[in-house]
């Protein structure tokens, strides 16, 4: 005991006490706090909405408002639908890590069940597009050639001809669509996340959305054939010409210099 009291004026003593106090409080809370009880009479959907509301209050409410009505930091979520929630949360774009021109993708920390609960809550705020069926975005059922035509009409101005992405204003950008899950492409077209305009089914029917997904699967995934190899980003002749001029001709010059720099004489001088 004496040892302890001798060290009570040590510069780190206050921190040590604080850590013990925090640990004790947390431990007591975990042991004594009442466990959340599901209401026995509630249907499965209303449980999902209730759970979703709790998740919403933790992860989303600070920007989108306590009731999803939006604030100066985030748009209203009334009427965005389950598809928008599924897209934003499962690609990791939401909750946003820090304010900025655009929310980038990042590893998603929510389980599928939690995302479904969040989506159920947001969908309960107002009618909006729902999460699509798997057959709606199955690339094997789409017509890639027609999808290419549609992509060039509606998408290529921002996402480039094979979905390589591109820059917009003030730090915003159209992301590269390489290896994006077909479900997320479908949901993005349907809901218009962030700066992207939406393409509702009356404007771009579901079969056409599937054609666009078939096109992207054919040209911009890790499995997509690239007959020539080295696509150089798929940007076209400018990138290819630059590569040929700098690396091709550079290599020829380097070989010529190497040949000329090595003498064939028996006695090096």
């Amino acid at each position: 005991m004496k040892k302890l009291s001798v060290r009570r004026r040590h510069p780190l003593a206050a921190f040590v006490v604080l850590i013990f106090a925090l640990a004790a409080t947390g431990g007591l809370y975990a042991a004594l706090a009442p466990a959340g009880e599901a209401k026995a009479d509630a249907s499965e959907t209303s449980i999902a909405i209730e759970e979703g509301q709790k998740l919403y209050a933790v992860g989303c409410a600070s920007c989108h408002g306590a009731g999803g009505q939006g604030s100066s930091d985030g748009p209203t979520l009334v009427g965005v639908g389950a598809a928008a929630v599924d897209f934003q949360v499962s690609t990791g774009r939401m909750p946003m890590q820090q304010p900025g021109p655009q929310a980038p993708t990042k590893p998603n920390i929510y389980s599928e069940e939690e995302i479904a609960q969040l989506a159920a809550y947001i969908a309960s705020l107002g009618p909006g597009p729902g999460v699509p069926e798997a057959s709606a975005y199955d690339p094997s059922e789409g017509n890639a050639a027609h999808g290419g035509e549609l992509f060039r009409t509606n998408c290529s101005q921002c996402h480039n001809f094979t979905g390589q992405g591109g820059a917009l204003t003030h730090g915003k950008y159209a992301p590269n669509l390489h290896d994006v899950d077909p479900k997320h492409i479908y949901q993005a077209m349907l809901t218009g996340p962030q700066a992207m305009p939406s393409f509702p089914d009356a404007v771009l029917p579901p079969e056409q959305k599937r054609d666009i997904i078939a096109w992207l699967t054919a040209v911009n995934t890790s499995e997509s054939p690239s007959p020539g190899g080295f696509g150089l980003g798929g940007f076209g002749p400018v990138a290819e010409g630059l590569f040929a001029w700098t690396f091709g001709i550079g290599l020829l010059v380097a070989v010529a210099v190497w040949v000329a720099a090595h003498t064939a004489k028996a006695r090096k001088s």
Partner: protein, 360 residues
């Protein structure tokens, strides 16, 4: 004269390089004249010049390179004949490539490279590498040759009749013909000048009162309820078909994009009145040099042109926010007809697309 012609084959006026060096490559005259021409260094032999076995080895290397080239050409022909054109194979590090393209490129590249490498190795190791100087001859012809040529020329002028001969009419008509030919080129410059009808074809588009707005995706006329807030539709006037003769001429002027905003977000009252419940229809031809300015950001309502980053605020009458565009994008007045479809109320009020001479 003739002796001069013969003698300048081996002119040596002391300026051409002469082999003067001794075995060490140092010129003899160095001590006397610091600026003396050192001449060519003494020839040094290569291993192949000294060792017959090394020369044999070089010979074998060159032959091997040429043989590899031959085999590569045979490989090229075999690849062409045997590999299916639509096959796709994973080849590290290139990815999922066409094995036909890959092997054609590799074999042809190898065949050409081995020919080049063989030739370089041959010339560097086996061909004679003694440097030899060739004398430079005066460029000027001898006076006798010059006189003969001038005499021929004078005789030719006389015989053809230009200037001194009797047939002055031929000469004068030829001058006339040559003088008139450039006029054709000058007449063509008219095309750079004012447009024939005062630019009228550039001011008119296919849009008229009652023209339906066709969604380019479905080919069907648009209804206002098709568009939700934040959506973007690429559209064209009714009655235009991709296979029409004038399709490109007309779409280049008439192409439009429709966006739907919350009505309270529209800052320009006239723009709001020209739309329908927040649906606005703008020409998508950039007023700078005519690229399609359809990079639409639905949160800021900005439309960006991909060519020179001209930015238009579609919530404020497509005002130019940034970039080289000189005018706002023209807005098409739209309404809903009795069948519930969106329709134009007339042509654009001002010509769409880039400025032209008479536009002002």
């Amino acid at each position: 004269m003739s002796s001069q012609i013969e003698s300048h084959d081996d002119v040596n006026d002391g300026k051409t390089p002469v082999r003067t060096g001794d075995a060490d490559g140092l010129p003899e005259t160095r001590e006397h004249d610091p600026f003396a021409d050192p001449g060519l260094p003494a020839h040094k032999p290569r291993i192949q010049d000294l060792d017959e076995r090394a020369a044999k080895r070089s010979e074998r290397v060159v032959t091997l390179l040429f043989t590899v080239s031959m085999l590569a050409t045979v490989g090229f022909i075999l690849s062409y004949a045997l590999i299916p054109i639509d096959a796709i194979t994973y080849i590290w590090p290139f990815g999922n490539v066409s094995p036909l393209n890959f092997s054609l490129g590799m074999t042809l590249g190898l065949a050409l490279f081995c020919i080049g490498a063989g030739a370089v190795h041959w010339s560097r190791t086996l061909m004679s590498d003694e440097e030899s100087a060739q004398e430079r001859h005066p460029i000027e012809a001898t006076p006798a040759v010059k006189a003969a040529v001038m005499e021929d020329f004078r005789k030719g002028t006389e015989e053809s009749g230009i200037g001194f001969g009797r047939r002055k009419m031929i000469r004068n008509s030829m001058f006339g013909a040559l003088a008139l030919v450039p006029l054709s080129g000058i007449v063509l410059l008219r095309d750079l000048g004012p447009s024939p009808e005062g630019g009228a074809p550039l001011r008119r588009t296919m849009w008229e009162e009652g023209t339906l707005i066709i969604n380019e995706n479905t080919g069907q006329p648009l209804r206002p309820e098709d568009m939700v807030v934040g959506s973007l539709v690429q559209a064209m006037p009714e009655g235009l078909d991709l296979h029409d003769h004038h399709f490109h001429e007309e779409i280049a002027k008439a192409a439009v994009m429709l966006v739907r905003l919350e009505p309270e977000d529209i800052k320009d009252q006239q723009s709001a009145d020209w739309g329908h419940e927040g649906i606005l229809c703008y020409s998508k031809i950039c007023t700078h040099i005519g690229c399609p300015a359809t990079l639409y950001e639905q949160q800021t309502h900005h439309a960006l042109c991909p060519c020179h980053q001209s930015t238009f605020d579609l919530s404020d009458g497509a005002r130019v926010l940034f970039g080289p565009a000189g005018h706002a994008l023209p807005q098409l007045r739209i309404t809903v007809n009795e069948d519930g479809y969106l329709a134009a109320m007339g042509d654009f009020e001002e010509p769409p697309g880039p400025s032209f001479w008479e536009r002002g």
